[in-house]
């Protein structure tokens, strides 16, 4: 029989320490839906998504029951819409966004990702048309998520695309000003975007992906924090071991759920994303892990080192537990979604500059950060450019998801509710990078991209 202590440990992880499967995301390729006629394209997209993912939500619920572990989200990601709707006008792209929402409603899923464009090297007419309606698409739908990849280590940085994103973010904030500028929470700007990411808002089904695939994202900051607490006064090598063992256990559950979902949905298993994804629930925070490691507050000097060690140990523990690892794989530091980060920002210990440094050593980037509503567009562009540069130079994924909360100032906060949490509005350095951004063009790829 299975060891009693093991059973109680597992149950304790789930009931007391918020261990859950954050998401089962079904990637669905839409290549076979391509049509020059927008109405026909929309019909085919709707039919393909609703047929392929017909049983996703019910299957998720069954697995949840069978293993007794919560599966918080069931999601769908699709081939980047800028590609599928390549011949569309801006109005056509908007129509596709509404089609995605209709499919999400039919399926009862939490989010649908893939209103996305890959423009790291340049923009097609289609991509430009799609990007031009991102604010409207996000404001007029509830569950559609959008992402734009503006740079890669291989291609360099497309500054023209970054300049468009600052304006798209501001407009999305304005269009949803009566709802805390919520549209911005569904829009993320990437460098080196992964093509099999199960997490929103950046999930899409990449061009090299199969017709459909099951990608799973695990969670469990609370479990790691408790394990560190139990480990007591040990040195950092021992602490790394504790984190690795915990990450292994968490990831094994992710792999189990992924295998079962793939089998039941008759869909190939894609990847498990080795992530520590926090929620606003007390005890489910990455910041608390860092504080448990010995920092007085997340954001203190030493935070980057602690986070680097945590992130590395999570990967080392997780990689052996899964047959295929992918997605973002790392500790997330979304400010509004993490009770400890919110507290650290409110007490002034955690600043935007420190967060930027932290993103150099973990996944993913400046995530869910509320900034003053009157922040100039170019300052937003500058924040994006800096964050993207960290990703490009370090050959890693970085991303920016900012909420310039319309009509609000630094020191106030915005309440999104649910998994998106509460964001304290952070003050910014507003000296202008306008002239640099407006030069446009591309920042060349770094020398170490030349690997052949």
């Amino acid at each position: 029989m299975i060891n009693t202590q093991d059973i109680l440990e597992t149950i304790n992880m789930i009931r007391e320490e918020n261990l859950d499967i954050r998401t089962i995301t079904m990637g669905i390729s839409l290549w076979d839906c391509v049509s020059e006629d927008t109405d026909r394209l929309c019909t085919k997209i709707y039919d393909k998504i609703t047929k392929r993912a017909e049983h996703l939500v019910a299957t998720g619920a069954e697995i949840e029951k069978m293993y007794g572990i919560p599966i918080v989200n069931k999601r769908v990601s699709v081939t980047p819409i800028s590609l599928i709707g390549g011949a569309s006008t801006p109005e056509g792209y908007l129509k596709i966004a509404h089609t995605l929402q209709k499919a999400a409603d039919t399926l009862g899923i939490n989010f649908i990702g893939g209103f996305s464009a890959l423009v790291q090297k340049g923009m097609t007419v289609g991509a430009r048309n799609m990007i031009s309606v991102i604010p409207e698409a996000l404001a007029e739908t509830q569950n559609v998520c959008s992402s734009v990849n503006v740079a890669s280590t291989k291609a360099g940085t497309n500054m023209d695309a970054i300049a468009l994103m600052g304006s798209a973010i501001k407009r999305a904030a304005f269009l949803t000003k009566d709802n805390n500028s919520i549209a911005c929470a569904k829009l993320v700007v990437f460098a080196n975007v992964p093509e099999d990411n199960p997490f929103m808002a950046g999930a899409f089904c990449g061009v090299g992906e199969p017709d459909s695939a099951i990608n799973v994202g695990v969670s469990g900051p609370g479990v790691v924090a408790s394990a560190i607490r139990r480990a007591g006064d040990c040195d950092l090598s021992e602490l790394a071991d504790v984190i690795k063992k915990t990450a292994f256990k968490i990831t094994r559950v992710g792999q189990l759920v992924a295998n079962e979902a793939a089998k039941r949905l008759d869909t190939p298993f894609g990847i498990v994303d080795l992530s520590l994804a926090p929620t606003p629930a007390v005890g489910d925070s990455v910041a608390y892990i860092l504080e448990e490691m010995g920092l007085e507050s997340c954001g203190a000097h030493g935070t980057t080192a602690a986070l680097a060690m945590l992130n590395d140990a999570v990967k080392k523990g997780g990689v052996m537990a899964s047959s295929h690892v992918g997605g973002l794989s790392g500790a997330f530091i979304p400010v509004s979604e993490d009770a400890g980060m919110i507290a650290a920002a409110e007490r002034g210990a955690l600043t935007l500059e420190k967060l930027e440094a932290m993103t150099a050593v973990c996944s993913v980037g400046l995530d869910m950060i509320a900034i003053p509503g009157d922040t100039p567009e170019d300052v937003i562009n500058g924040i994006i450019a800096d964050e993207i540069a960290i990703g490009v130079v370090n050959t890693k994924t970085t991303a920016v998801r900012l909420i310039p909360a319309y009509g609000k100032k630094a020191g106030e906060s915005v309440e999104f509710g649910g998994l998106l949490g509460t964001a304290p509005i952070m003050s910014l350095n507003t000296y202008s990078p306008a002239k640099f951004i407006r030069r446009g063009g591309r920042i060349p790829a770094p020398i170490h991209s030349l690997k052949n």
Partner: protein, 89 residues
């Protein structure tokens, strides 16, 4: 297929009998039982063969959870694989 049934909470008279009765009614064959007291908590763990279960897994889990609620106990039914995968390589 085997399920692990865990009962945790304050000790009560007759709880094993009642859980066993539900198992018998739905043809879950009890293979093993262990019981321990962890700090103030009573913890009983049953391993049951559920291949011949005469209701759905989910209904079986709900029935036992309801029984738990009525006795102020926590009763969980989980597939054994979650424990095997998590704790054994």
């Amino acid at each position: 297929m085997k399920a692990v049934i865990t009962v945790t909470g304050k000790d009560t008279v007759g709880i094993i009998a009642e859980v066993s009765a539900v198992c018998a009614k739905h043809e879950a064959n009890i293979l093993d039982i262990t019981q321990s007291v962890l700090s103030e908590y009573f913890a009983m763990i049953m391993l049951a063969d559920i291949d011949r279960l005469n209701i759905g897994f989910s209904d079986f889990a709900d029935t036992l959870a309801e029984l738990g609620k009525s006795k102020s106990l926590m009763i969980h039914v989980m597939h054994e694989d979650i424990f095997n995968t998590m704790h054994h390589i």
